[in-house]
Symmetry: C2
Subunit: 264 residues, 2 copies
């Protein structure tokens, strides 16, 4: 059973995961970050020691969690000096588990499918945790750890995780960007973004009960060319937004047509 | 004071508005719809009479609410046979108030900024109601009515309402389409859309406390070309989604650059 961890990274995910583990009584032995201030800051919150030197990681922890940005994982691995029997996981949606092969005999992935900020606490209990391991005995360990945090622990392989991450980019990154565009459009006309918040909430809540394809409304779905053209014209000073408007409108129409056809 | 209304329309918005008014003790005298079954169905829910003939609208109601799709408003107006002192409003985000000019001396707009479905009840108390009238005395009447339904009643002119509606298309229609794309991507790989729901909820909730531009995360913001290229490749069989991915990614990057520049 995993009773203590070393957290490698001190970014958004590392921070929220360390806090959640700490609160569940898992000991965070050490926090590593390239920046000593970041390591120190997070370590302070979870009662851990800290370092900015990968050669100085504590040698015996039940689990080493690599929670750095994707492009830094390889470098972390190459500088890691831990015994090859130690259990290591990374937490990335898009990096295959196989990147860990050769660095330890016991490895896996522990991917919480959520968006994290450093300062905003999230409720881990509803976060799907996607787990993959190189060996069933490691699977049991990670499952137990996952179940301490969340009621949704899922065995997901690297291919599936890549697909989930791609879908997550659409429903989180791109959705948030649409919120930014909405805010930007209102800001230019001195209108209050708060006016959109109930709509944003309802849009997200609606799909708890309706399939998104059935929840679709608006000019694109109705193929209401008058409104579409008028709105494209309103965006003439914002070619970026105009392009997104065009392609989203076209794509909504296509997907609805396909959906109606599939229902026949 | 408005004590009773005639509802012209029986679609999503007409249905939810009629139900909300009925529950607050406003009498719904009559429901009109082109389709008699739709008129009858809604009328049954709010204890109203119904008709599919605009010439047979009851002659004396405190308010006539046109809640039909934008493209049908003109036709409704031309066939309306009511006294020109009667108060008429439409409920559209993108149609200017001036469309009502000439059909009555007392007119306005009563636009609830929300997405409606026929079957899903919404909580009106948080919905921003955007009001415009041709005369202050009508403004007072509509404000009172709005305040019976919601704590957010706002004087918004036709230009502003058009801007709000445009922004609403981004944060509702396009956002929902991104949910559909997410669902579609998972469906193809037999993955459960429920895995994305906590992320979707958190994405919407995060902007209650953060500006969307500050809540942005992901490969586009980090300009992580490896992930971006890998994900574009995963979408090679879905050129529509691929286009949206490209433009959204480019647009996120641009907006972040601009934002960082503005902060300097």
């Amino acid at each position: 059973m995993i009773k203590n961890v070393v957290i490698i990274g001190a970014g958004n995910l590392a921070t929220q995961l360390a806090l959640a583990l700490f609160e569940k009584g898992i000991q965070v032995k050490q926090v590593y970050s390239r920046k000593i201030e970041s390591a120190s800051e997070l370590a302070g919150k979870v009662n851990a020691s800290f370092t900015n030197n990968l050669a100085q990681l504590l040698p015996e922890a039940d689990l080493y969690v690599i929670a750095v940005k994707d492009s830094a994982i390889q470098e972390v691995l190459e500088n890691l000096k831990i015994d090859e029997t130690q259990l290591i996981v990374h937490t990335s949606g898009s990096v295959p588990m196989s990147i860990l092969d050769g660095f330890s005999n016991n490895y896996g992935v522990f991917y919480p499918l959520q968006t994290f900020s450093k300062t905003r606490r999230v409720d881990f209990s509803a976060i799907p945790i996607c787990i993959e391991t190189n060996h069933p005995s490691n699977m049991m360990k990670l499952e137990k750890l996952g179940e301490m945090l969340s009621s949704s622990v899922n065995q997901i392989n690297s291919e599936e995780r890549k697909t989930l991450h791609l879908a997550a980019v659409f429903v989180n990154n791109f959705v948030n960007h649409l919120y930014s565009i909405g805010a930007n459009i209102l800001h230019d006309k001195k209108l209050d973004f708060n006016l959109l918040k109930p709509l944003i909430r309802e849009t997200a809540e609606k799909i708890e009960v309706l399939q998104p394809i059935d929840a679709q409304t608006g000019p694109a779905k109705r193929n209401d060319q008058n409104t579409i053209n008028a709105q494209l014209k309103m965006l003439q000073d914002k070619p970026d937004f105009q392009k997104i408007y065009s392609f989203a409108t076209e794509s909504i129409f296509q997907l609805q047509q396909k959906h109606n056809h599939d229902l026949l």
